[in-house]
């Protein structure tokens, strides 16, 4: 780095900052070194001596991290164990083992082969998924960091090679590779800025400072013979605590969290830091926080398990029936059946011991009827889900062109759950907003500037315009009235439209980041011509001076970029630069500003002395600087939350208060972040008197120092004069409001959980139309008491309880159908509300509200809220977030969605689905979720149908064989049934089925409700399918048995033997189940045709091939099709009638349902099929707008409310008019 850069950075922030950076110069009594004894404080770190940590007892884990489930050795046992945890698989394993004994009704191969196939496939999938996780870990493990290699030399090493005790140097914008103790930074006083977005989601930078004693270690060479010992706590997951001692040069210094740099946070605004590694890899706080990602199962799958249990019961039942039947037959019938030689039997058929034989037979029967349990169900579902996931991954509509990141289904077993989501819990920063601020509007001296409209406004206006054009039809009730007033509304419509048009048509200037201001009155120096130029000048001065940013020369543009603590400040500085006030240099005591005069092009560089800086914190909600300009005048410049600033105005400083607060309201409604700006002129004497006191307080030490400082600061920040207000757009991500609108129309509830302040959260709420003017906001907060006594807690709780019940009553008493409530609650209150005795009231209140915003919530609380919603309502929840602070919530929710944005990977790693932007959520849910839900639901139903239809025929046949356990089908047929003959069509159903096209899904978000209402997997439907299976099995069996009874079936006089009957029956089954699936499908491509008809063809082909094989393999099925069945017309005729009679009831049922009770997608299918939408576009458009759910959030609701409001006004007007007429 150049020398100048180094100089610039030799700022001593501690001299400037009033609160956070001041370090007591003497140790206080209570800050004596911690006495670290006992369990939990065993860690010893020998700094700069990583070798010590290679052997016990100081051997700690390396920095290698692994999040995989298996490794090469454990994979086989563990994965197999996982597989056989499924009851069905365990059953099949048992059956396969038993098939090796003489009890079996089948050859062992026919039991083992499908099982091996199914389990093998599932395991292959597991392995693949784990491999992906492994690759992701590797990516992290192979990041590089500069590490001290001895003798004062630093070199790069992989993260995974880092050991405890290593000294590392982290450069700007790099992640910390492990938990570090900060030794020194590029700033002289050992300060560095850290972004902890990945840890807690907070976007403002945090200041960390090193110990005074390690400050000299700010050079590579200095580490040559650096030795120190750290004794500290053991690894633990608490992010905000740290207890330890630093032993250096025979002195012991206590350590606290402000010296600790946590893994996965990022160094900002600081060129480099040196640190020593304390916790590595899985010991680091972030990894300790990582809970094992729970394996999630979808609702459908859980229900499927229940069905499997039902089938198991059925299986046991019919096995019992058949073994009792067998015992009876063996006892009473068999002694007479001489042809079985009953006198020479084994235990299996012993007429003298029918009980024993019966028990043996029970086992046989359990295996025989195993076809009731669809062995291939799990594996088919898995295959389908993987393919569905591939569709999601490859969906170009969810591909972010800017970043090149596609959507990714990281676990494929939740696809169908996407179609059943009821509540979305969303993070704010990085998810809804892009954490980028645009300076958009301002109000100076009571005049509002800035023509640009926020994205929300534009979209709302657009929506309003299009809504208005169809409104007449929609509100047909007030038709006449509407017509009369059409003109009035029409103009506003035109106005809106022209506004949009101008916004769109305006030639786009090269856009400057963070700046979106358009108003010629202020731009290009024109402000000097305004009548209030003096105030405007002050306004700009406040923008340029009242901040803590550092300018950084940008080599490419020749200008400056600003490193600011919060993005707002950056936006202000950029704005000021554009207005001609360029902040160009900061020294220890001064700020240099280049002011461009309107008259002359050349800029004048002015110096402002910064006398004091009273910085921002969440309690003060304001920041002030005291500056002395070149003429020696001292000013206090202040910016802060409007409520705070307004109450500090002097009497004569309230000139613009009314106008400004009106503007502030407007801005707030438009979803903008606002700050009020004010100043105060200080007399020299006044200042010095204050400053003396301030310095006194600053240097005193004591427990109430903070409070004292605040009090003193408060003294000077009074009698302010209001200058104006700023409005910054917390830039929403692309398409967020539209997406929220659509999701709301689809009937989803959206909760916002954010770590940000309440004001910010509310602003974003407005920006996303989750809140709107006229919505009743229920703010639940705690009475502010810092006491932690039991009583205070109790009182706070009671207070909250009162608030909750009151609000609940208010909602109950509300008459207006359109009234909407919004619940806003902060983290502290939430901690009470989430306690057991309050949480149910809280939940029921929250459910009644149209939108819920929780602010200042910790990651833990996010997870708790998610759990509350999930368990309290019993509905499916989806959590979406981008930062590490969202991990808990993502893991807790039924579905976790990670935004694979710019920051970190924790959220994505923990998530089930990752998308690049929030707006893709719409497509993910409304299209893919909807499809996947229907596909899987139908697929599972069909599976049960198919296996019941097949399995029961085996049972019926038993009654004809004296329950002996003989199957009428050849073993090979049965083997192929599940694996080949009927698997592909159902997979194609699961992968390709769509009831309506994706465009229609998006146009009619209401269709999504079919999922959360679970229309396609309720018991009615499941039992219906099972009934259908039962019916089919009866028809197939009894028709065939009667057709192939005792007479000749062949013109050659031959009678039907078992092979003939079995084959004919099996043919009927193949036809029936494939016809059924063809009837079920509503979307055919050549693939479905190929699979369905191909399966039938395969069956015949198999029969031919099997018949051609050696009779030793095929047995009685030898040449069966070509010689016996093929030439017999009865066979073909029987197939036809059985297939037809099996399909008729289903066909009749669906046509009856369609005729009388069509579901939404049926009607839409028909409209599409007859191309009615093209003929009657009016109707199509009308239906589309009607299909929107009655929502209380989103634009549409906002627009509706506006229209209602307008109508109400007009109505009032007309009624007063009519009254006047009468009178």
């Amino acid at each position: 780095m150049t020398r100048t850069g180094r100089l610039r950075e030799r700022l001593r922030w501690s001299k400037l900052y009033s609160f956070s950076c001041i370090r007591p110069s003497v140790l206080l009594d209570n800050e004596a070194p911690h006495s670290l004894q006992g369990p939990g404080y065993s860690r010893v770190v020998y700094c700069n001596q990583p070798r010590v940590h290679r052997q016990k007892p100081f051997k700690y884990p390396t920095n290698y991290i692994s999040t995989t489930k298996y490794n090469a050795i454990t994979f086989l046992p563990k994965a197999i164990f996982e597989q056989f945890r499924r009851v069905a698989n365990l059953y099949f394993l048992l059956a396969a083992i038993l098939s090796l004994t003489p009890v079996t009704p089948f050859y062992a191969m026919s039991m083992i082969a499908p099982l091996a196939f199914v389990v093998g496939l599932s395991m292959a999938k597991e392995a693949l998924e784990d491999w992906r996780r492994f690759m992701q870990d590797m990516e992290v493990n192979f990041r590089k960091v500069s590490i001290h290699k001895g003798e004062g030399r630093f070199g790069y090493k992989h993260w995974q090679k880092i050991r405890v005790g290593d000294v590392v140097k982290v450069d700007k914008d790099q992640f910390f590779p492990a938990d570090l103790l900060l030794l020194s930074s590029s700033y002289e006083d050992g300060i560095c800025y850290v972004e902890t977005m990945n840890l807690d989601g907070e976007t403002n930078l945090k200041v960390k400072r090193s110990l005074e004693v390690t400050l000299p270690l700010d050079d590579d060479e200095a580490f040559n013979d650096f030795r120190a010992v750290i004794r500290c706590e053991d690894p633990n997951p608490s992010l905000y605590t740290f207890v330890g001692n630093f032993e250096y040069e025979r002195q012991v210094y206590p350590l606290d969290p402000s010296q600790i740099l946590l893994r996965d946070s990022k160094l900002r605004n600081t060129r480099y830091v040196y640190g020593v590694v304390i916790f590595t890899g899985h010991d680091s706080k972030i990894m300790q926080n990582a809970t094992k990602s729970p394996s999630k199962r979808s609702r459908i799958e859980k229900k499927m398990d229940k069905i499997i249990y039902i089938l198991f019961t059925l299986l046991v039942l019919i096995s019992l029936v058949s073994s009792i039947g067998f015992a009876a037959k063996t006892k009473f019938g068999m002694p007479k059946w001489w042809y079985l030689q009953p006198q020479n039997t084994t235990d299996l058929y012993d007429p003298s011991r029918p009980m024993l034989s019966g028990i043996f037979h029970l086992v046989t029967a359990l295996i025989l009827y195993g076809y009731l349990i669809p062995i291939s169900l799990y594996v088919s579902i898995e295959v389908v889900k993987v393919l569905q996931a591939m569709f999601i991954n490859q969906d170009l509509h969810m591909y972010d062109e800017e970043t090149g990141i596609p959507a990714q289904a990281r676990t494929s077993n939740l696809n169908e759950e996407l179609g059943q989501v009821d509540t979305i819990l969303s993070d704010k920063t990085g998810t809804l907003t892009c954490n980028q601020m645009d300076f958009l509007k301002c109000s100076i001296a009571g005049i509002s500037y800035g023509l640009g409209s926020s994205e929300v406004e534009m979209a709302a206006a657009k929506q309003m315009a299009s809504e208005a054009s169809i409104a007449p039809e929609q509100h047909s009730s007030g038709q006449d009235f509407w017509e009369d007033n059409r003109g009035g509304f029409g103009t506003s419509e035109i106005e809106l439209e022209s506004r949009i048009n101008c916004a769109i048509k305006k030639p786009r200037k090269p856009r400057i980041r963070d700046f979106n201001f358009e108003d010629d009155r202020l731009m290009l120096g024109n402000w000097t011509k305004e009548p209030t130029a003096g105030t405007i000048l002050l306004f700009f001065r406040i923008l340029t001076l009242c901040h803590t940013a550092i300018p950084e020369p940008n080599m490419e543009t020749g200008g400056f970029t600003y490193e600011a603590e919060s993005p707002d400040e950056g936006a202000f500085l950029v704005a000021a630069r554009e207005f001609g006030f360029e902040f160009c240099k900061r020294t220890q005591s001064s700020v240099f500003v280049r002011e461009r005069d309107s008259s002359s092009e050349n800029a004048i560089e002015r110096e402002f002395k910064i006398l004091n800086l009273l910085e921002f914190n969440s309690k003060r909600k304001r920041m002030s600087v005291i500056v002395q300009d070149e003429s020696g005048q001292i000013n206090l410049l202040c910016k802060g939350a409007d409520s705070i600033v307004f109450e500090r105005l002097s009497k004569h400083g309230r000139m613009y208060e009314n106008d400004t607060s009106k503007h502030l309201n407007e801005y707030g409604e438009a979803g903008l972040r606002t700050l009020a700006l004010a100043y105060r002129v200080l007399e020299e004497s006044e200042y010095s008197a204050w400053n003396a006191e301030f310095i006194k307080v600053k240097t005193t030490m004591g427990p109430d120092r903070e409070a004292q400082l605040e009090r003193v600061a408060d003294m000077i920040e009074r009698d302010l004069i209001l200058v104006g207000a700023t409005a910054v757009e917390d830039k929403l991500q692309k398409g967020v409001p539209e997406c929220i609108d659509k999701l709301a129309q689809a009937g989803l509830k959206i909760w916002v959980l954010t770590g940000d302040k309440m004001e910010t959260a509310i602003n974003v709420g407005f920006a996303c139309s989750l809140l709107r003017q006229g919505m009743k906001q229920i703010c639940i907060s705690t009475i502010n008491c810092d006491l932690v006594t039991q009583d205070a807690k109790k009182a706070a709780k009671e207070n909250i309880f009162m608030q909750i019940t009151k609000s609940a009553q208010m909602i109950k008493l509300e008459k207006d159908r359109h009234a909407a409530f919004a619940l806003i609650i902060d983290g502290k209150t939430l901690s009470y509300a989430l306690e057991d005795d309050l949480k149910n009231q809280f939940l029921s209140l929250a459910v009644d509200c149209a939108s819920v915003i929780c602010c200042r919530v910790s990651p833990k609380q996010k997870a708790l809220v998610t759990r509350l919603v999930k368990e309290g309502t019993g509905k499916t929840t989806l959590a979406i977030g981008d930062g590490a602070n969202d991990v808990g919530m993502i893991q807790e929710a039924d579905i976790g969605v990670g935004i694979s944005g710019l920051e970190g990977m924790q959220a994505v790693m923990a998530s089930d689905f990752s998308i690049a932007q929030f707006r893709f959520l719409e497509r993910l849910l409304v299209v893919h979720g909807h499809w996947c839900y229907k596909r899987i639901a139908q697929m599972i139903c069909y599976f049960f149908y198919k296996n019941i239809a097949f399995g029961l025929t085996l049972f019926y046949f038993e009654t004809y064989t004296g329950f002996s356990g003989q199957s009428v089908y050849d073993d090979w047929y049965m083997l192929l049934f599940n694996v080949i003959l009927t698997s592909l069509p159902v997979i194609s159903l699961g992968v390709f089925e769509q009831d309506v096209s994706s465009e229609v899904c998006l146009q009619f978000p209401a269709l999504y409700q079919q999922g959360p209402k679970n229309l396609f997997f309720d018991w009615y439907r499941i039992l219906g399918w099972m009934g259908n299976g039962l019916y089919s099995s009866l028809i197939i069996f009894f028709l065939n048995v009667n057709i192939f009874y005792d007479q000749a079936f062949h013109a050659g006089g031959q009678t039907a033997d078992m092979a003939v009957v079995g084959t004919a029956m099996f043919t009927c089954i193949i036809w029936t189940v494939n016809m059924q699936i063809a009837l079920t499908m509503s979307h055919f491509t050549w693939i479905q045709h190929l699979f369905v008809w191909g399966s039938i063809a395969t069956w015949y082909a198999f029969l031919v091939v099997y018949g051609k094989s050696s009779p030793l393999i095929s047995g009685n099925a030898y040449q069966i099709l070509l010689e016996a069945l093929g030439p017999a017309p009865v066979y073909w005729v029987a197939t036809l009638i059985v297939t037809a009679s099996c399909s008729i009831p289903y066909l009749a049922h669906i046509s009856y349902q369609r005729a009388l009770n069509p579901l939404d997608h049926h009607v839409i299918q028909e409209i599409k099929y007859y191309k009615k939408d093209l003929e009657d576009q009016q109707m199509w458009k009308r239906e589309r707008s009607k299909a929107r759910q009655e929502t209380k959030i989103g634009f549409t609701a906002r627009v509706d409310a506006k229209i209602r409001q307008l109508k109400g006004k007009l109505q009032k007007k007309s009624s007063t008019l009519s009254i006047q007429m009468v009178s």
Partner: protein, 304 residues
């Protein structure tokens, strides 16, 4: 659309039903149960003893009247009842390997308990072969012998590929228990068509098996005399024995069920078609009528 498809199915099925019924009608079938009548009066109370006694005369003469003209070939069947040829123990008790080739003569593992006699492998082994049906029929018309052709009563493929021409019966029915028929040890299995037919186990406990073919036409009211050697023991398990003479058509033997089933299903389809027509007339719903969309119905209680 659904109406037309139902109507279409109905319209197709009814003719098929009629066709099969008429085909079934054309079949002439004579069924004669003889198991009880063929036991002499004095043995009626101890039928089992009679049949098991090798000394008794088992010959029995039956007269059959031809009800309609029977065109050649007339198939001769024996029908057994309550005989569980499909019992698992029975079905499994055979050795396809042994039947097929001389080389596998010793492979009798599956044939228990009828695998070995006096320590030597039985060919053909197993319960199925052991219990081979052994009643015989001799037909004569007006004291003229009616030849029964016992060739080509089994499936050709069975004869050619499943029963070896080099496999000769050995040690058959030589054990302590004598089951059914004995086999001529000088004729290879591939020529023993009775055995081949028998080895095709039936699916149901009531079954017919082809005995032979009479290759002359039988005229109306022809009186056929059958001399039965009533050897086979069905008395032990209370089974019936029947002699069946039948002609065939394209649907095989007499099978009214198929035709009736077709007519029923076809009739039902037509009925459904009419129902849907009525439904359509009384409660019409234009396809793609948007008023049926759920939001329209929920909103204003649209007349459905």
């Amino acid at each position: 659309m659904i109406i037309t498809s139902f109507a279409l199915v109905g319209l197709v099925f009814v003719p098929i039903g009629l066709a099969s019924l008429s085909a079934s009608e054309q079949v002439v079938e004579i069924v004669d149960r003889y198991d009880i009548d063929c036991i002499p009066e004095q043995f009626q109370n101890e039928r089992l003893a009679y049949i098991q006694n090798s000394e008794t005369n088992k010959t029995c003469t039956r007269n059959l009247i031809v009800p309609r003209k029977m065109n050649s070939p007339v198939y001769v069947y024996y029908q057994l009842d309550n005989f569980y040829q499909n019992h698992r123990r029975y079905v499994k008790s055979r050795s396809d390997k042994q039947l097929r080739s001389k080389a596998y003569e010793q492979v009798t593992d599956n044939c228990k308990p009828e695998d070995k006699a006096n320590g030597l492998a039985i060919v053909p082994c197993g319960l199925i072969a052991w219990s081979l049906f052994n009643d015989t029929y001799k037909f004569s018309l007006d004291s003229k012998v009616l030849e029964v052709n016992k060739k080509n009563i089994a499936w050709k493929s069975d004869q050619d590929h499943k029963f070896g021409s080099d496999v000769y019966p050995k040690n058959f029915q030589s054990g302590a228990l004598i089951g059914g028929a004995k086999l001529n040890a000088s004729i290879p299995l591939s020529e023993q068509e009775d055995l081949i037919v028998w080895m095709r186990t039936a699916a149901l406990p009531t079954f017919r098996k082809l005995y032979g073919k009479i290759e002359v036409d039988l005229e109306l009211n022809d009186k056929i005399t059958v001399v039965i050697q009533n050897n086979y023991n069905t008395y032990g398990f209370g089974g019936k024995k029947k002699l069946v003479l039948s002609t065939t058509t394209w649907i095989g033997g007499k099978n009214d069920f198929l035709g009736v089933a077709y007519l029923t299903v076809g009739g039902m389809c037509l009925f459904l078609a009419i129902c849907f027509v009525l439904l359509y007339v009384f409660k019409p719903r234009t396809l793609g009528d948007p008023s049926y969309l759920s939001w329209n119905r929920n909103a204003a209680g649209h007349p459905s």
